[in-house]
């Protein structure tokens, strides 16, 4: 199956006949549309695209995509997607998951798919809440957050999806705000291009149960000042006037102002997303100001299916077994008459 698309698609080709059922105002709409716009820009055939989701508001996503899809069970999408990809490596496989789906019940599959580095894409809808079940705290909810299941405030310190992912050997990690669809579309295209498991954390607002949780740095008015969109090989500069930058001081990242006390653009750290050592990537993931978006890590490595396929090829080459009969009748057999 060669993977060059025969014809160009438009987002309509990826829009299913099902009416979208999220709450009015939910960021999920923007993510859906970004995906429908990104797919035509990728070098994939519609029939080769598969969306696998778990359970949650976010996980209803596949119903709205006119591709192959499975709305599976809670937390298991990464494992199911692994089977899909191993069965047919030519497919473009996407995992759609939420903060609870991926990091609560699905935590084990989440870390293992990243470890194995199979070539598929994971979109993590992080709204720091369980939406579908009407608003309990999730593994990314903040300490003190008041929810249905924490009326006096949450007592469980959160995961940082990026830190957990890198700790699990993730080769590709990107982060994006749910209200910046253009950048999101671009990132979706990038993560399809990346060979290996790519994870995108979308900071998704849930207006019903956790409204404004990312406001502080996603709000239109402050966004450019509070977010830094990093790109490989580019200096880490941000701010409305592009005059803020990040420099390294010992083992800490510091924000400086270009032009002030002798700082010039040359002093600013240049992003290297592609190096194997994740030290810088982990520091960027942890940074609070500015909040780092864009592709933080993208280290190309051998994929699981490549390793498996080359072993299989090697074994086939060295084995005389072609049909099962070759095996069944080989070695010690005897006759009864």
């Amino acid at each position: 199956m060669e993977t060059t698309a025969e014809k160009k698609y438009t987002f309509k080709d990826f829009t299913s006949d099902q009416e979208v059922r999220w709450c009015p105002g939910c960021d999920d709409y923007a993510i859906l549309r970004a995906m429908q716009k990104a797919l035509p820009e990728m070098n994939v055939k519609k029939e080769d695209v598969v969306f696998i989701s778990g359970i949650g508001c976010s996980s209803r996503f596949p119903y709205y995509m006119d591709t192959y899809g499975m709305h599976s069970i809670h937390g298991r999408a990464p494992a199911i997607a692994t089977g899909v990809k191993l069965a047919n490596p030519d497919l473009s496989v996407w995992v759609i998951t939420g903060d609870g789906d991926a990091m609560a019940i699905g935590g084990n599959h989440f870390i293992h798919v990243l470890r194995r580095n199979i070539n598929l894409n994971i979109i993590l809808f992080n709204n720091e809440i369980y939406g579908l079940t009407k608003g309990q705290f999730s593994p990314t909810s903040l300490v003190g957050q008041k929810t249905k299941s924490s009326p006096n405030g949450n007592t469980q310190p959160p995961f940082s999806p990026g830190e957990l992912a890198l700790g699990a050997q993730a080769r590709f990690f990107a982060r994006i705000g749910g209200n910046t669809p253009k950048e999101m579309t671009q990132l979706f295209i990038e993560c399809e291009k990346f060979k290996g498991t790519s994870l995108i954390e979308v900071l998704q607002n849930c207006p019903i149960f956790n409204d404004g949780c990312f406001e502080e740095f996603t709000n239109k008015d402050v966004r450019t000042d509070k977010q830094m969109f990093v790109e490989h090989g580019k200096p880490m500069i941000f701010g409305k006037d592009r005059d803020k930058g990040v420099v390294l001081n010992g083992l800490k990242l510091e924000v400086v102002t270009i032009g002030e006390d002798g700082i010039t653009e040359k002093d600013i750290l240049v992003h290297n997303a592609k190096e194997q050592d994740p030290t810088l990537h982990q520091m960027l993931v942890r940074l609070h100001y500015p909040k780092v978006t864009g592709i933080i890590r993208s280290f190309e490595d051998t994929t699981l299916e490549e390793r498996m396929n080359s072993l299989t090829a090697e074994v086939k080459a060295n084995s005389s077994f072609r049909k099962t009969n070759d095996l069944f009748f080989a070695g010690e057999t005897y006759e009864v008459n």
Binding site: Y68, S72, A79, L86, N108, K316, T324, E335
Partner: protein
């Protein structure tokens, strides 16, 4: 204890180095063929191998298989590596070093007695494998060496080390069984149950033209199926050792969605973890085979022992009304046939199949009349090769009610499936009450109709009469022999019906039950299959013979019980 252990008196026959008389066990079948050989060195192997029938177990001290010793024993090449033992179950243990290690803190022991005590290590292993305690031997040692406490301590220590070593590694005795019926002419090989089972899936994949996918997490006594299948990459087998049982089955569901013949293998506790996912596979109506090699339960239970106590879990261990096909292998050799059958049924009926085996047949070996794939029944998949006018994912075959299988990569058949109740035909999410009722009925009817595609139940030894002996799964060997023995002793009105198909039950089941005055259901649990029969057939009085000791039925207990009932 295992059928192949007889006669509490005697000496550990044929096992090199065990001339000490310990009055405990004799591991041999009638005719004095050795069932288990401990070879302390190449020479010991050479001189005693003749006495060991293929399919039996050989424990070797790998430390003693040095180049020098191998030559001394006049072997051309190392028998442990040249494949000449491939028809035996070889357990390689560095017995010398383990013995030394076990005695390292014991002062004043000369090397000679250390080495001598290594026999005790082997004996300890054998004891654990055959459910014997070390007590008597320790008493015996105390008597024999009472003048020499150091030797007593050393031997006791090593004996226990060997015993614990076998326990820690969950070593499993292997039962060699020849089907008591006379063998048809043909080409045979000795095969273990788990191997035969693995090979059955290889054959089904080849026949159906699909690639075989295995998603599995190791667990005793099922791990050997994984170990076998990873050896066959030359047939394109894809095996993922998953992070847990749930990933094992869910990755298999993904592979099935993408068009592979998908398989997951486990044992009891693992099946418990797969329940939710099995429900999904059943709901989205994809082919999937789940193999459960039963072991002693509940909980971690008795991992190395055999039992049939997962039957009701297999039938009902999922939320909601979620029937699946359930079949069971009954001998090491027919593990091949029922693996193939499981694949055939799941592919043709588009619903999951659970195949039950157990520790006894899984680790047992027997002669297998080799089957070429050409002789195996056809497998017709429900794959949609291309798009057609108003096609729907839940369009069904009118006979089997199987839905069609549209595989990612096929142009024009893009569709979504999932675990929420789905609308008939379209497969869209539906909360409609009547649709739910209808879909529930269809999913049940689908299973029922499998009756039309499986063989009828047969009775052996008597078509009708006073007593029907009923068995299922791995108890075939002992039950068959017992009834046969009675028939030969003149009990002509005892019939025997063995079930390999559990859900659905064969069409003619009730008719057969009705032909006998008494029915006794024999199983290695507290009566789970009897319960299934009671649910299905009204007005019968199902007697029970149950055993739950981690061991197969012994001929004695069966014959006696059946005699009582036969008058």
């Amino acid at each position: 204890f295992p059928a192949e252990i007889r006669a509490p008196q005697g000496s550990l026959y044929g096992v090199s180095g065990f001339q000490v008389h310990i009055g405990s066990i004799e591991i041999s079948t009638p005719g004095d063929n050795v069932d288990l050989l401990v070879a302390m060195n190449p020479a010991g192997l050479k001189t005693n191998l003749h006495a060991v029938k293929p399919g039996h177990t050989i424990i070797v001290d790998t430390d003693a298989f040095t180049k020098k010793n191998i030559e001394k024993a006049k072997y051309e090449s190392n028998p442990l590596q040249d494949g000449s033992l491939e028809n035996y179950r070889v357990i390689e243990v560095a017995m010398t070093s383990l013995t030394k290690e076990a005695l390292k803190d014991l002062e004043g022991l000369d090397n000679k007695s250390i080495l001598r005590s290594k026999n005790m290590f082997a004996l300890g292993m054998v004891y654990w494998m055959y459910d014997r305690t070390t007590e008597h031997t320790i008493e015996f040692l105390n008597k024999k060496f009472k003048t020499n406490p150091l030797i007593i301590e050393a031997n006791t220590k090593v004996l226990n080390s060997g015993y614990y070593f076998a326990e820690t590694l969950e070593l499993i005795p292997n039962a060699y069984t020849i089907s008591p019926a006379k063998m048809a002419a043909g080409t045979y090989r000795i095969i273990m149950g788990n191997t035969a089972l693995a090979w059955g899936f290889l054959a089904a994949a080849e026949k159906s033209g699909l690639e075989l996918y295995l998603g599995s997490y190791p667990i005793t006594p099922a791990s050997d199926i994984l170990h076998e299948l990873v050896k066959h990459k030359h047939f394109g087998v894809k095996a993922l050792q998953a992070e847990d049982e749930i990933a094992g089955i869910t990755s298999a569901i993904g592979a099935s969605f993408a068009g592979d013949l998908a398989l997951t293998t486990t044992s009891g506790p693992g099946l418990a973890l797969k329940g939710e996912a099995l429900g999904l596979a059943m709901m989205i109506e994809l082919p999937l085979v789940v193999v459960n090699v039963q072991r002693g339960g509940p909980s971690t239970g008795l991992p190395t022992k055999t039992e049939q106590s997962d039957l009701l879990q297999t039938m009902y261990g999922r939320n909601g009304e979620s029937p699946v096909i359930v079949i069971a292998a009954s001998t090491p050799a027919n593990c091949f046939d029922y693996a193939y059958e499981a694949a055939r049924l799941t592919l043709e009926h588009m619903t999951p199949v659970v195949l039950l085996s157990d520790g006894y047949i899984a680790n047992g070996s027997a002669p297998w009349k080799i089957k070429s794939v050409d002789e195996m029944p056809e497998i017709k998949t429900n794959i949609m090769r291309e798009a057609k006018e108003n096609w729907h994912p839940y369009d069904r075959d009118e006979n089997t009610l199987a839905r069609n299988w549209a595989i990612p990569g096929t142009k024009g058949l893009e569709h979504r499936i999932g675990g929420l109740e789905k609308e008939r035909v379209t497969g869209n999410v539906s909360y409609d009450p009547d649709n739910h009722q209808l879909m529930t009925t269809i999913r049940a009817e689908k299973i029922k109709r499998v009756q039309n595609y499986i063989p009828e139940l047969r009775t052996e030894f008597a078509e009708e009469g006073d007593l029907l002996v009923v068995g299922w799964g791995g108890t075939y060997g002992p039950l068959y022999s017992a009834v046969k023995e009675l028939k030969e002793a003149g009990y002509t009105s005892i019939g025997y019906a063995h079930f390999n198909y559990i859900n659905p039950l064969p069409k003619n089941t009730e008719a057969i039950l009705a032909k006998f005055k008494k029915i006794i259901v024999c199983e290695l649990n507290t009566g789970q299959f009897a319960a299934v029969l009671r649910m299905n057939f009204n007005g019968f009085n199902f007697l029970q013979l149950n055993k739950i000791q981690g061991l197969p039925f012994s001929n004695g207990e069966l014959v006696q019980k059946f005699k009582e009932l036969a008058h």
